[in-house]
């Protein structure tokens, strides 16, 4: 399954454009713009995704600080709000409309731009060619386009923050009719159009990326790299891409229909509405249709976010426990199970829309089924570190934290997936707690684990460890402090997407708690700036990598030069002789055998 031939021509075409590679023989000077901006090197593109993702994470995080100020201190005023929000926060108090705009953009950018674009974009691009032994993606050009669509989507979303009617403000799910009628809310004006256009471009970006990832994984593996020798990162990224390719187009269609309803007078989602003093002519549509379309993407989306984190955690846990991943095939099977079931559970977000109770029952069953492969993964991770020789690198700490968070957040899914409980918990803070822990924070932990772990490969330097540990402990403790108590608020029925609770007899007793949560959120946010600082300073000032395989890892990326150029390997791509998890006695006192080392005589392949 060699792709050597294809690659040679590939490298050639690049060369004729004056391409170059840091170490290799042909050292033409390449222009800054083609090298760092319109680059087709998957490693550069991955860094572009990562840095753009970091930008959006800061924006989204800062928004959460702002609206947490409102939630924690509804009576107080803050100069900083006026500084950033201007007229939207007259006298230091945020408008409800801005509050809703902020949570909407916060949710949208963190889910899509950071944990989908930023996470998959970074690690699929970086790891797929390096770990399967390919010189680049199947189509480096589409890959570049994928990034630029993502960037433009971001610019449009960002610009919606500055228009006079404000950004979209119907929640990240943007349910019509609210999002369809500009009479219904200020944010449903131009802001909503920009949101829809931005998401449409984002879908294009993710399709271009996803198709590329799938094709690359299936076709461009180096000699000897059979599917069953792939590291679990690659398996996870493969299923992530499949999920995306099959579900994102549905979101696109939802968005297009919504645009029609907004501007072309159609009634896909609208029926029998009286708003702002007049009855609208639309009849016959159904707002529920939108919810079906949205969640047909929306649910797979949470696995699009989770799977790369799972894959990286598997890889990192095995490497730093110096043990093979436990149950490699069970891990793959559970990925397959999760991928299939992810398409069959979407309506668990709609138990209280008045759907047929029978259908609801079917979705309960399917939803709880998905807990089984998830449980298998958790137990396999635990067995992986059992009797290991755990080396607490920063990446490993985050991977362990990921497991803890995934357990906590996954278990609360069993409450929400059971419709008779969801009928009370739906749209309360219990949901906020659940999805932040299982999807938001734990995927972030997977991402941090990946960044700390592969930073040496990306930049030829290490990130600062001590700062990394501080980052880890503050984030881990802080995340639980923020989100754990929210479960209780939700059990007490406290609704989400509320700007102020002080007029509610049933919910106002949580004022003090909300303050505490807000303070913790600010601390956690500052700890993330810590990370950002560490990241950028370490690019230039970090400790240099001297050993090409600093973690004594088995996978192929560590057989490349310390700073690989475009094309990744200087000479031939290594041939693969074994699976990725031979962490065992190598006969010379070492405890690992990389994939490119031939089997010893009498040694059984896994």
């Amino acid at each position: 399954m060699s792709n050597e031939a294809a690659i040679h021509t590939d490298v050639h075409t690049h060369d004729s454009h004056g391409h170059h590679d840091d170490h290799a023989h042909h050292e033409h000077k390449q222009h800054f713009i083609t090298k760092y901006i319109f680059s087709q090197d998957h490693k550069i593109i991955s860094r572009q995704f990562l840095i753009t993702g970091i930008f959006w994470a800061i924006v989204g995080g800062l928004m959460s600080v702002f609206f947490r100020l409102q939630l924690g201190f509804p009576e107080q005023t803050f100069k900083v709000l006026t500084m950033f929000l201007g007229d939207w926060a007259h006298g230091g108090k945020m408008d409800p409309e801005m509050y809703y705009g902020l949570i909407t953009i916060h949710g949208t950018v963190l889910v899509f731009f950071v944990l989908t674009g930023g996470l998959s974009g970074t690690f699929a691009n970086f790891l797929i060619p390096l770990q399967i032994g390919a010189r680049d993606m199947a189509s480096p050009f589409l890959n570049m386009l994928s990034y630029w669509f993502f960037a433009i989507a971001g610019v449009i979303m960002f610009s919606s923050l500055f228009i006079t009617t404000g950004p979209a403000s119907g929640g990240w799910t943007t349910y019509p009719p609210l999002s369809a009628l500009k009479e219904a809310s200020m944010g449903s004006g131009l802001g909503m159009d920009l949101w829809l256009v931005s998401m449409a471009l984002f879908v294009v970006s993710s399709l271009l990326g996803g198709l590329n990832y799938i094709v690359t994984i299936l076709n461009m593996r180096t000699k000897g790299m059979s599917m069953t020798r792939l590291p679990l990162t690659i398996w996870a990224l493969l299923f992530t891409a499949i999920l995306g390719v099959l579900s994102f187009p549905v979101l696109l269609s939802a968005a297009v229909l919504l645009l029609f309803d907004r501007h072309a007078g159609t009634s896909f989602y609208l029926s029998e509405i009286y708003v702002a003093g007049k009855a609208l002519p639309n009849v016959g549509g159904s707002p529920i249709l939108y919810q079906h379309l949205f969640w047909f993407l929306g649910h797979p989306e949470v696995y699009i976010i989770m799977l790369p984190a799972m894959g990286m955690a598997s890889e990192i846990l095995a490497t730093h426990s110096r043990k093979p991943i436990f149950g490699y095939f069970a891990m793959i099977l559970s990925l397959i199970g999760i991928t299939l079931l992810a398409f069959l559970v979407w309506a668990h977000h709609m138990f209280v829309t008045g759907m047929s109770p029978f259908l609801g029952g079917v979705f309960v069953l399917l939803t709880l089924l998905i807990a089984i492969p998830s449980a298998v993964k958790v137990f396999n991770w635990l067995t992986t570190i059992w009797k290991g020789n755990i080396r607490f690198t920063v990446g490993m700490c985050f991977a362990l934290g990921f497991v803890s968070l995934f357990i906590s957040g996954g278990l609360t899914g069993l409450f929400l997936g059971n419709s008779a409980l969801d009928i009370h918990l739906h749209d309360t803070y219990f949901v906020v707690a659940h999805f932040h822990i299982v999807m938001g924070i734990s995927a972030f932990f997977g991402m941090f684990a990946g960044i700390y772990h592969w930073f040496p490969k990306m930049y030829g330097r290490f990130m600062n460890n001590t700062m990394g540990y501080i980052h880890f402990f503050i984030t881990f403790v802080g995340s639980y402090v923020i989100f754990w108590p929210m479960h209780y608020e939700g059990v007490a029925g406290m609704p989400r997407r509320y700007y102020d609770f002080s007029n509610w007899e049933s919910f106002k007793q949580f004022g003090e708690l909300n303050q505490m949560i807000s303070i913790a959120a600010i601390i956690v946010f500052i700890a993330q700036l810590f990370f950002v600082f560490n990241y950028f300073v370490s690019i230039w000032k970090g400790k240099k990598v001297t050993d090409p395989n600093p973690w004594q890892s088995n996978t192929l990326e560590w057989t490349t030069p310390i700073k690989p150029g475009h094309g990744n390997w200087d000479g031939e791509i290594p041939e693969v002789h074994r699976w990725a998890y031979d962490y065992k006695d190598d006969g010379n006192g070492g405890d690992f055998i990389p994939q490119h080392i031939p089997l010893k005589e009498g040694e059984e392949s896994h």
């Binding site: 609210l178 009628l181 149950g327 008045g354 607490f392 609704p495 708690l513």
Partner: protein
């Protein structure tokens, strides 16, 4: 200006920290990788143990703090079922939670690398994998079974003789409608809506509408131990009838009528006594994002005895009568449906 100073200060702190952290790494280099690795694993392995203890102490502490703040017991028949199911699920997940988290942190501590253990090659075991596929599967089957049983009773047909009340959402308040003496809600259509004298768009050619009572602030008056069916609708965008004390919730979707039913089991007055809170009220909250006033979309639910309810009903005038007082001389009785229609024709 002070903002700028603050930013400057933060950056300064970062730089100092980074430098300190870097020098600690220099020390590590001098010590030698192996020595450093061992020391680090020892410190971090131990930290993980402390983290676990802090985690569980924190959970207990949080629980103690929260318990007094939680709402009262469920106030409906379905709510009681909910509370039971919640407990079962909490036990199942709680056990798994404690087990897995303890193992995770304990393994971190126990199996830290200290340089003298040979690697263990343990790549899979069919037996183990089978166990942890089937045990969760059985647990899930149990949860699904009790869940569906509860779900189908909650969403089943309302019992015969249930009281019917319509509740309609609009930006940003609720409107409730009671069927009046004829016990039936009249037809409505959205094109008839106007905010002056036809809030819900009732069709006045349908005589059943004549005695319907509308409460424009959405107050719900329920009777203890009498099942109630809520007929739910919306005038504009999607809202949601959230009845947290009754553990019930249902979307209000324009163009679609949805329903829920339940039987309230504790009156407001009883609940005031139980909670010791003179200000206690049952509240109806809008639980689906509906625009800038979403957080203020509140209505009060009153659960009372049959006698109180009858008395209250008697005092209400039908919406039609309220808006067409000229058609009804003051001494006339509260309209009965048949009479009223006659009266209208007679008055003409």
């Amino acid at each position: 200006m002070s903002g700028l100073m603050l930013v400057f200060l933060v950056v300064l702190i970062f730089v100092v920290l980074y430098q300190v952290a870097r020098s600690s790494e220099m020390v590590a280099q001098i010590q030698g990788e192996q020595q450093f690795d061992k020391k680090r694993n020892k410190i971090l392995g131990f930290s993980m143990l402390i983290l676990m203890i802090a985690f569980f102490v924190g959970i207990v502490w949080c629980h103690e703090y929260m318990l007094p703040l939680m709402g009262p017991e469920a106030a409906s028949n379905h709510g009681v079922q909910y509370d039971f199911m919640f407990k079962v699920t909490l036990w199942v997940t709680g056990i798994v939670f404690v087990l897995t988290q303890v193992l995770l942190f304990w393994f971190c501590f126990k199996y830290q690398r200290n340089g003298d253990k040979a690697p263990v090659f343990f790549a899979h075991s069919n037996k183990l994998e089978l166990i942890w596929t089937t045990v969760p599967a059985i647990a899930m089957a149990v949860l699904v079974a009790i869940g569906l049983k509860a779900w189908f009773t909650m969403t089943g047909e309302a019992p015969k003789g249930a009281m019917q009340i319509e509740i309609v959402g609009k930006q940003f308040n609720w409107i409730s409608r009671y069927p009046g003496p004829d016990g039936e809600l009249g037809k409505k259509y959205f094109l008839n809506i106007n905010d002056k004298d036809n809030l819900l768009g009732q069709d006045w050619t349908d005589k059943r509408n004549m005695d319907d009572i509308i409460i424009p602030n959405g107050e719900l008056r329920l009777v203890k131990d009498v099942p109630v069916e809520l007929i739910i609708g919306s005038r504009d965008v999607i809202h949601d009838v959230g009845l947290s004390h009754f553990r019930m919730k249902m979307d209000a979707v324009p163009g679609i009528t949805s329903r829920i039913w339940f039987t309230p089991t504790i009156t407001t007055a009883e609940m005031k006594r139980k909670t010791g809170n003179e200000n206690f009220v049952y509240e109806l909250s809008c639980d689906q994002m509906c625009g800038k006033g979403h957080y203020s979309m509140r209505a009060v639910v009153v659960v009372e005895t049959q006698a109180e309810h009858d008395k209250w009903l008697k005092e209400q005038k039908s919406y039609y009568v309220q808006n067409h007082p000229e058609e009804f001389p003051a001494e006339a009785p509260i309209v009965a449906p048949v009479d009223s229609s006659k009266k209208i024709t007679m008055n003409k």
